[in-house]
Point group: C2
Chain length 205, copies 2
DNA sequence: TGTACATCAGTGAACGCGCGTTCACTGATGTAC
DNA sequence: TGTACATCAGTGAACGCGCGTTCACTGATGTAC
């Protein structure tokens, strides 16, 4: 850490990172503006040079999370191309990988109580993330006969819900709530069964 | 509400109910011991006659929630008998119905940060709830040829995760996060696809 | 039925604490000339 | 290159607040005789 004088140099981002670390360690409740300031080596009052208040700081952390999340999902989708199936499965894995790698962001996004419609910026980037999954679902559903094809948005909602449920219930270190299986396996196998149910992979695969 | 004098009569339960209402309205964070006491018409200090502290009160709310939850699940399971399939589907519906009908309990159980291993009582009743779903999954998996039968605990974990994800993402009044479909439909159809994937209901059902 | 007394649920005042936020300020930086 | 000055990031003291918790207490209840 470079020595600094009166001016911090990059306080705004340092505060976001301090907030993310606190959120990761103690949950969205445990995070306080004062502690984040302290961790950034600065007086609580200094925070107000960069944010309107406590909520604003969390919202920015969430926004950055959605940005990364959308990128990660997009990257996975692209990497799976041109196979619609491979692309879809990759986004599922990417969801869990994101939750694991960026727990602070994940919590800020989904458990902090910040509304996604708080600012247009936030709403837009959240939409971008959702669109990737929905796109992957739409591509894949092309392979289902139209008359038994569910709406892609329902399809992607199922997978989103399953992924989120696996993260919340089995990928957190809830003391004592031992996962019976590694979350990755759980999600992978769950999606496998689901896709088989849609007739998208062979029954005996 | 009956008039009361110096003694409340049933303060312990009144506090639990006040806590549940506050949790429902403002989330687990919004709840404070003082406000719960106030709502029950009593001094904050009076709480300590019945609970060791704030956490203890939440834990009791969660415990009562698990109790109801386990009963509801058991009832659904029984009602579906003797059909393993009907029993299983009923427990899925019961999950969502519970989350809807007892939002305060649900939040206390799953979002308050209370560890299920906090007390033996709590751990036991949580286990009882989990057992119902696992039992339903085990019954159902009897109908799958052994060589392609997934472990029932994985099976039930999938459904639990899907249900929880649907509740968290689509059954909450997250302002602006409009659900594309009614949560009930989403869960029902998701479970349907999943069971088809296991070969438990006909592909064209 | 009436009195004495033990029990204990709830009071009310007090505590120390850390919070988010405000304000007038000061010190560092960078630009104009 | 050097000086004057505008800009603005961060300070430090202060605020009011509500929190969880403690304590000695008091009022109501119910039981023994």
């Amino acid at each position: 850490m470079p020595k600094r004088g009166y001016h911090h140099g990059n306080l705004r981002q340092a505060l976001v990172e301090a907030a993310l670390e606190l959120i990761r360690e103690k949950g969205p409740t445990g995070f306080t503006l004062s502690e984040a300031a302290k961790q950034a080596g600065v007086t609580p009052a200094a925070v107000y040079r960069h944010f309107a208040g406590r909520e604003d700081l969390i919202a920015e952390a969430a926004r950055q999370g959605y940005e990364i999340f959308a990128d990660v999902m997009q990257f996975a989708y692209d990497k799976g191309q041109p196979s619609a199936l491979a692309a879809f499965e990759a986004t599922g894995r990417a969801y869990l990988a994101f939750a694991r790698k960026y727990p602070g962001h994940y919590i800020a996004m989904f458990e902090s109580g910040i509304s996604v419609n708080r600012t247009p910026d936030l709403a837009a980037v959240a939409q971008r993330a959702r669109n990737v999954l929905e796109r992957a679902a739409a591509d894949l559903s092309e392979h289902i006969p139209p008359e038994k094809r569910p709406p892609p948005s329902m399809f992607s909602a199922h997978i989103w819900a399953l992924s989120h449920g696996v993260v919340e219930l089995f990928a957190r270190n809830n003391p004592g709530t031992q996962s019976p299986f590694p979350p990755e396996d759980l999600l992978e196998s769950g999606i496998g069964v689901y896709l088989r149910g849609l007739g998208l992979i062979k029954p005996d695969a």
